[in-house]
């Protein structure tokens, strides 16, 4: 163990002076995380401003204001203000003070109560998305109203009673007040999404951790070429001691690389990674997985150039499959399923899970999968790499 630490300390001392190691392990992931998070528009949340003109003042109009529109305000999706006239609202839209205006015309409630067609007006501004959302919300409200109208007519037809306007109004009001019997709640993994700054920090950290992890185990091949491996082996230490020292370097480089990205994106970009203990667990497990895969590649390589090239190909392929370049929520179903074979997907999944709150238990599944990847690939890799040490 002491000799392994001596070997690891020597390697790390060399890496400190190795600019390519510092670039690949720290500067590149950090730089790209900064670049992506500043160049790509913020997709963390949507907010719009609506102005509402209620020229009706009836109960159905009040239902619209207190129901769906207030719901948008409560969800902090929209800020709702009011205006007295359509002209005033239109002026605010034209001036860009609000994104869209919703006009409830006079007689709106009465028309509905009479079973007649009623119209709502949406005045869109530059943001067509805001107007589309307003139309969508109002269409949904219209569907609810239509359902109420059908129900009331059915009730009146069954009783063969003469429709009294006050009765119709009361039934319509009661019907609109009924809560929807079925509420669909969504908690899919893809729906739990870290902020874009956190996502790009995570994706770059897991992409470059493979480049960082190669520096220890690939060093075995370099030491063999330089003759220093034979000299180490001639010392009173076993082959496993040398292997363990190299793996330790890979692990330290991987952990340092990811930790720097996590800390720097938190401080400099405002990324929100979640519970520190859970993040530490994810980082360590991912570093172990990356070290295992790097060891596996080294076990099958003849030269350090061959190993470096193979690790780059493996890292980039896994990154594409694992969602390092785009969120898996935007990927085709097949790719999303395939991504589960990559450490990248499990790390990003863990980061996304932490975005919804929770501690280390929340990411226990991801951590276990990452550790299993590290154990399997590392185990096979070490068995192969032993042949590098003792031909």
């Amino acid at each position: 163990m002491r000799a392994s630490l001596v070997i690891a300390a020597k390697d790390l001392r060399q890496k400190i002076g190795d600019r390519s190691a510092l670039f690949l392990a720290i500067l590149a992931p950090l730089g790209l995380a900064f670049l992506f998070s500043t160049m790509i528009p913020n997709q963390d949340g949507f907010h719009t401003d609506y102005v509402v003109v209620d020229l009706d003042g009836g109960p159905i109009a009040q239902g619209l204001l207190a129901g769906p529109l207030q719901g948008l305000a409560d969800a902090k999706v929209a800020t709702i203000t009011t205006a007295d006239t359509e002209g005033a609202a239109r002026a605010q839209v034209d001036a860009g003070d609000v994104d869209a205006a919703i006009v409830i015309p006079a007689g709106f409630s009465a028309a509905i109560q009479a079973g007649e067609a009623a119209r709502l007006l949406v005045i869109g501004g530059d943001s067509t998305l805001s107007a589309e959302i307003a139309r969508s919300v109002l269409n949904g409200f219209g569907s609810d109203v239509t359902a109420v109208q059908v129900g009331v007519r059915a009730a009146l037809a069954a009783t063969a009673a003469t429709p009294e306007p006050s009765l119709i109004a009361r039934l319509a009001g009661d019907a609109l007040a009924i809560s929807a019997p079925i509420v669909v709640s969504a908690d899919a993994t893809a729906d739990r999404q870290a902020s874009s700054k956190t996502y790009y920090g995570a994706s770059m950290a897991v992409l470059f951790v493979f480049f960082a992890a190669q520096f220890g185990v690939v060093g075995l091949l370099a030491e063999r070429r330089n003759g220093t491996l034979a000299r180490m082996l001639a010392s009173p230490i076993g082959p496993s001691t040398i292997l363990f020292g190299k793996v330790l370097v890979s692990l330290v480089m991987a952990v340092v690389s990811m930790s720097v990205v996590v800390i720097a994106t938190t401080i400099l970009l405002g990324a929100s990674w979640g519970d520190p203990l859970a993040v530490a667990g994810l980082v360590l497990a991912t570093a172990i997985a990356a070290t295992g895969i790097a060891t596996l590649v080294v076990g099958f390589a003849r030269t350090e150039e061959q190993a470096g090239g193979a690790i780059a190909i493996v890292a980039l392929t896994l990154a594409v499959l694992g969602g390092s370049f785009f969120p898996l929520s935007q990927a085709p179903e097949g790719l999303a399923a395939l991504s589960l074979l990559t450490p990248h997907a499990w790390f990003i999944r863990g980061v996304n899970d932490l975005a919804g709150g929770g501690g280390i238990g929340t990411v226990a599944g991801s951590i276990l999968v990452l550790l299993a990847v590290g154990a399997v690939t590392g185990g096979v890799g070490l068995a192969r790499a032993r042949r590098v040490v003792t031909p």
Partner: protein
């Protein structure tokens, strides 16, 4: 280990690479304080043999014992008795000489003040103390060579194994290396020295194993090897005066097997010539020759190798 027990014992070492046999039943031993040379051309099996002795390479057969302990790849105790100096430079160019020495010293279980003291001693021995804090990639080839050897001496090994340490070295550094190895032998360290330079083996080694095609063809002191192939010494006398009668007188001596005269030089073929030099000079003077210089040319290992293998050392 008793005083008479050999420091290194190799018995029937064997190693194959596919269809090619690199080492084919090599056996020899080295006593403490003895310098043993493995002399053979490139590809003879010297490095493979050394690699198995140092526990760097799995062997297909045979045994190695160093200081009474069996050597294998994981045999850490036996390896602690060995100082290994590889043929190619095995140092870190991006570290300083002191950092290189400290790293390999720690692997040899040295630490603390003892490590610092040994590092200072080796830096002084290799004449690198002034450059100890410089990165090795700024060193000359000779300095790197000296450091390469110094690392093998850090832990004061009982057996020093040097694999062709002078290949590609300038004459000045080569002489320094040979002098250092000779000193180590005199200080009681067992030395296994491989080379394909006949002069080095002749100069350094107490005993020599002639190795070719993975086998030791013959073994012994230089004189024993020469005797093995029946070669005699040659005595060259550069002389003036009446050299003709002197040559005849010398030819009549019982131990002289041949005498020729040519161009002011009398050439004699004599067995064990150094033992007979006084008588040769006395006879030449009595015959009227004025001897200006005398040189004894002993049969060299080149001739022995040629005799044993049918090819020259540098083939």
């Amino acid at each position: 280990m008793t005083e008479t027990a050999p420091l290194l014992v190799c018995h029937d070492l064997r190693k194959r690479y596919g269809e090619r046999t690199a080492v084919d039943g090599i056996s020899f031993s080295i006593a403490a304080g003895e310098t043993y040379g493995l002399l053979g051309p490139n590809g003879a099996g010297k490095t493979t043999t050394i690699s198995m002795i140092c526990g760097l390479l799995r062997r297909d057969g045979g045994d190695v014992m160093v200081a009474g302990r069996p050597v294998d790849i994981g045999a850490t105790e036996a390896k602690a008795s060995i100082g290994y100096v590889p043929q190619d430079l095995a140092i870190y160019p991006d570290l300083t000489a002191r950092e290189n020495l400290k790293f390999f010293g720690r692997l040899q279980r040295l630490g603390g003040r003892e490590l610092d003291r040994r590092v200072d001693e080796i830096l002084a021995l290799t004449d690198l103390a002034d450059r100890a804090k410089d990165r090795v990639d700024s060193y000359s080839g000779g300095m790197k060579r000296r450091l390469n050897i110094g690392i093998g001496l850090l832990h004061k090994p009982a057996l020093l194994v040097l694999d062709e340490p002078t290949v590609g070295v300038d004459p000045q550094s080569r002489n320094a290396i040979l002098a250092s190895v000779a000193d180590l032998g005199r200080e009681g360290m067992g030395v296994l020295y491989t080379t394909h330079y006949m002069e080095e083996a002749e100069r350094l080694c107490d005993r020599i194993g002639i190795i070719d095609e993975g086998r030791i063809k013959a073994e012994g002191t230089q004189r024993e090897l020469v005797a093995l192939v029946g070669q005699k010494d040659r005595v060259e006398l550069v002389a003036g005066g009446t050299v003709g009668p002197a040559t005849a007188a010398l030819a009549a001596l019982a131990f002289v097997e041949g005498a020729t005269l040519g161009d002011g030089m009398i050439e004699l073929v004599v067995d064990q010539a150094r033992n007979h030099l006084p008588r040769i000079l006395e006879t030449a003077a009595d015959g009227g020759a004025i001897v200006r210089s005398v040189e004894v040319v002993e049969p060299d290992l080149e001739a022995v190798f040629l005799h044993l293998t049918g090819k020259a050392l540098r083939d």
